[in-house]
């Protein structure tokens, strides 16, 4: 399933697609472009409507990556689905707080806690 989204580990629990980032650096433009396109496929091509993005492996994230996440959220909203995020390290969480994107995204401490919100 979803063999064209190689930058994520995909699993499904209770009807929620958990997409776990493999990369620990989502900083440079080339990486962000590939990850963004693969992330959009989850909604556009695979039709997943409940997606949880797991950031456990991610150490670095740039503003360009935030842009892809915002577009992903818009896609999911337009499709009538739900997007969650979980397992952000403190330094990543700081990026979301500074930019006030904690108001835009549903962010949970762990996969287990996030699943309760779906």
């Amino acid at each position: 399933m979803a063999s064209d989204v190689t930058r994520f580990n995909i699993q499904t629990i209770d009807g929620v697609t958990i997409a776990k980032f493999i990369d620990n650096r989502i900083l440079d433009e080339a990486t962000i472009q590939v990850i963004g396109e693969q992330m959009y496929r989850l909604v556009d091509d695979h039709g997943f409507r409940k997606v949880l993005l797991d950031f456990e492996a991610v150490e670095h994230l740039s503003s360009a990556a935030l842009g892809k996440l915002i577009n992903m959220k818009k896609k999911m909203d337009a499709a009538g689905g739900q997007l969650g995020m979980c397992s952000l390290r403190p330094e990543l969480l700081k990026i979301f707080k500074v930019t006030k994107l904690t108001k835009v995204f549903e962010i949970s401490a762990s996969v287990e806690k996030a699943l309760k919100g779906f």
């Binding site: 900083l27 440079d28 433009e29 080339a30 150490e59 670095h60 740039s62 503003s63 360009a64 935030l66 842009g67 892809k68 915002i70 577009n71 959220k73 818009k74 330094e91 969480l93 700081k94 990026i95 979301f96 707080k97 500074v98 930019t99 006030k100 994107l101 904690t102 108001k103 835009v104 962010i107 401490a109």
Partner: protein, 172 residues
């Protein structure tokens, strides 16, 4: 647990940042030539792949000097944001236009200067990305992130030269 309950910056961190700004702006210009070392200087075409290589080289230099794991991610982020802005917004991805990056070290203070060949911009006119009407816009957060993670972020009058400064801990 509500993540918003936590203040992103401690008062101590704010105080340290203010102190670094003060030291740099008041004292550093006086003895800049005496103790500030230039550890990297590179001019390259506006290409994001080349930029990735440059960032790797600079990161390795910082690591070789023992920069702490606390400071390195913040500087990597600022470097990525500064170079991406110079290439994308400053030089508009024009490969004929060059970006120059210089890294300096003055004891524990890291200073990075990034110059592009674009017309410049007024940093005060960048829309606030945290306003409700801008929250869902996919761009415009680079400068804000640099300001959040560095002790000081400055632009020249034209707006095509960025300087960011951070006091760091070095292990060796």
């Amino acid at each position: 647990m509500d993540w918003n309950d936590h203040c992103p910056f401690s008062l101590l961190t704010d105080f340290q940042s203010s102190l670094t700004r003060l030291i740099y702006r008041v004292l550093a210009p006086v003895n800049a030539n005496m103790s500030e070392l230039i550890i990297y200087n590179q001019t390259f075409a506006s290409d994001l792949h080349v930029s990735a290589d440059v960032q790797k080289e600079i990161q390795e230099l910082w690591q070789a000097r023992g920069m702490s794991d606390m400071d390195l991610p913040d500087l990597q982020l600022a470097l990525e944001e500064g170079l991406a802005n110079a290439i994308k917004h400053g030089n508009k991805m024009d490969p004929e236009k060059k970006v120059t990056v210089e890294c300096f070290l003055n004891e524990d203070i890291v200073r990075v200067v990034i110059q592009d060949e674009g017309p410049g911009f007024n940093v005060n006119e960048v829309p606030d990305p945290t306003l409700p009407e801008n929250l869902d816009k996919p761009s415009g957060r680079g400068v804000m992130l640099m300001k959040a993670f560095m002790d000081d972020v400055l632009y020249n009058e034209v707006g095509n030269q960025l300087t960011f400064i951070k006091r760091c801990t070095f292990n060796s």
